[in-house]
């Protein structure tokens, strides 16, 4: 509650009361342009000057003899009386209303905002309190307008002094930094900065105070603010020096750029995806001219031979040519399916969920069972069955299925004991997934291009589209993993490092 005497200022004992000033001629107070009144120790108004009469709307002289409470709104008049008595016991010089909303009431019942200074005085040996009253209503209204303007700003605005103490903060500043009420005023700027900046900031601020020019920060380097809950946020900062009657102040304008940064990151990521997709498209167009056309050209050549045979009547080889031609059409169909699958796999995503790797690998064993037994390849699995990761199972499947399928496809048939070994091990924040085999290996000269689309290292009579490892590489990239391999005749090992909690899928990786 706002009332006159409750405003005791600092909570320490007042200094010993000074000896009251003796005033010889009370009537000379009438000439002072500031509204004044004299109140005796009983709370009765002894004298008012014309300024005070005018402020409170009374005729000259009528206030004398009335209790001072007539000038105080009824809601606080009661408590005022008690406090006034206490003041009379230990009178001291003081100001009321500085930074406080102190109200008086006029004869017409209107409240006025005032600032009041009290001083104990003595006139003809009698103790009085001399009160000077300033109408601060106009000032308050101006301040209110300024405050409303500052609060209306969408940017956080914080004014601090040369010591880095906050002297003013607008509503958005409270929201941005997560404080309530007057929570920011009086705080050190250090409370608003992450630890790591504090020392540096003190140096910068000192430097800025000696050469304060308006500047914008946060463009060149990344600045962060610290919220009351300890979380950080990226910000853009503008600093404007303000000279408050010789007291240097700085107005900091702060914009929380979390959203902006997130969109920038998103755009950057989308851009990287587009660049990658464009590269893939270029590579695809090139490859299509080589790899999709090749079987057709071959078919064309075989049909030339067949026509020659039919024309010559030498049909012995014709059946064989027809069989080969048919094989080619199937190879081409497989290749086209592969290309379509590759294109589809770019967009197919199931979303992220927890994957039990033990179950996952067993599913792969079942799905690849036919391939395994046809090739006479044994599958060894070494895995902690409780191990889980958070990833898109579809991508994970692309990776593991292709690696296993390759290991089976390129087994060494001269070897009686043919195996594929899948091992999954935790590696800190990652899980390492290994697919090893004792197959024919990738020729050394071909290893640099292993992940390139349509690159195949066995000759064309063996199965494969040249897309499997390209797809693996892409899926690994999409879940934020890494893939490496070592290969020699008789031993190939592909290692995939997958984050336990995989990265959010990129925009191109998810279509909703």
């Amino acid at each position: 509650m706002d009332d006159w005497m409750a405003d005791r200022g600092p909570q320490h004992e007042p200094n010993p009361p000074p000896a009251p000033v003796a005033i010889d001629d009370a009537l000379s107070l009438a000439a002072v342009p500031i509204p004044l009144l004299l109140v005796d120790s009983g709370g009765t108004i002894a004298f008012t000057n014309p300024g005070l009469d005018e402020l409170f709307g009374y005729d000259s002289g009528v206030l004398a003899g009335q209790p001072v409470e007539v000038l105080i709104p009824p809601d606080v008049a009661g408590s005022h009386r008690e406090l006034r008595d206490a003041y009379a016991e230990v009178p001291y010089e003081r100001t009321m209303g500085a930074n406080r909303d102190v109200r008086g009431i006029t004869r017409q019942g209107e409240e006025v905002s005032v600032e009041i200074a009290l001083k104990p005085v003595e006139i003809d040996g009698v103790a009085y309190v001399l009160g000077s009253v300033i109408d601060i209503g106009v000032l308050r209204a101006e301040q209110e307008k300024t405050r409303l303007a500052i609060d209306a700003s969408a940017s956080a605005m914080i004014m601090f002094d040369a010591d880095g103490t906050v002297v003013l903060a607008n509503r958005q500043a409270l929201v941005t930094f997560g404080y309530a009420g007057d929570g920011l005023v009086g705080r050190s700027l250090n409370d608003l900065l992450p630890d790591r900046y504090r020392r540096r900031h003190a140096v910068f601020r000192a430097g800025y105070m000696t050469d304060p020019t308006q500047r914008s920060m946060g463009d060149a380097r990344e600045l962060y603010g610290l919220r009351s809950d300890g979380s950080e946020f990226p910000l853009e900062l503008g600093l404007t020096p303000i000279d408050d009657q010789g007291k240097p102040l700085i107005m900091a304008t702060i914009i929380d750029i979390t959203q902006r940064k997130a969109s920038e990151d998103e755009i950057r990521r989308q851009n990287a995806d587009l660049v990658r997709l464009n590269d893939e498209l270029g590579q695809f167009a090139y490859s299509a001219s080589h790899d999709l056309k090749a079987p057709l050209a071959t078919l064309d050549g075989l049909l030339d031979c067949l026509r020659d045979d039919l024309a010559d009547g030498t049909v012995d080889g014709a059946a064989e040519l027809a069989v080969r031609a048919q094989e080619l059409t199937r190879r081409l169909a497989t290749l086209i399916e592969g290309v379509l699958g590759f294109a589809r796999s770019e967009h197919a995503a199931e979303g992220f969920c927890e994957v039990h790797l033990g179950d996952f690998v067993e599913t792969m064993r079942t799905d690849l069972g036919a391939e395994l037994s046809a090739a006479g390849v044994r599958l060894d699995v070494e895995i902690d069955p409780t191990l889980t990761i958070t990833a898109d199972p579809h991508r994970l499947r692309q990776i593991v299925e292709n690696l296993m399928s390759n290991a089976i496809k390129y087994c060494d048939r001269r070897n009686a004991d043919r195996f594929v070994a899948v091992r999954v091990e935790p590696r800190g924040e990652h899980v390492e997934l290994t697919v090893a085999d004792n197959g024919i290996g990738i020729p050394a000269e071909a290893q640099a291009q292993v992940f390139t689309m349509f690159r195949r290292f066995a000759n064309h009579s063996e199965p494969g589209t040249g897309l499997g490892l390209a797809m693996v590489k892409r899926a690994v990239d999409q879940i934020g993993g890494e893939i490496t391999f070592e290969s020699a005749p008789g031993a190939s090992v592909f290692r995939v490092l997958v984050p336990r909690v995989a990265l959010e899928p990129t925009a191109a990786g998810v279509t909703t």
Binding site: S289, H290, G301, C305, E445
Partner: protein, 147 residues
Amino acid sequence: MTGPISVLVVDDDELDRYAVGRQLGKHPEIGRVVEVADGSEAYDLVAGERFESELGPHPPRTLILLDINMPLMSGFDFLEAVEREALLSSADACVVVMLTSSSYFGDRERAEQFEVVGDYVEKPLRAPQIRSLIERFWPEHAAPAND
């Protein structure tokens, strides 16, 4: 198989080699035909001491039909290796003709950069094309046209 011109077919696709072989067989000017499945095999052959004896008469008149897209050593890799080591350079009787399914203009331009490359033909290679190649490179050996 007694003609004066030898042919080295460099192609990883067995069926392509078969089809080319059939077309080559229609031309009496063609003598020995050697097939290899990859650029590196072709390189080994060309760089080897037995190249001439493998490929026929002295001085050699050899047509190398070279595919581009092969698993280990591509046609371009082969050409670069050959150029780097100045193989085939002394023998203008050796001509490389690219024989590929690629209609990609970049491949054609790239092939033209190699001095030893005499032509660029898209698959499949047909008998009339073989005849015109012979007439261009070895007119003295071209058999009179039958028709």
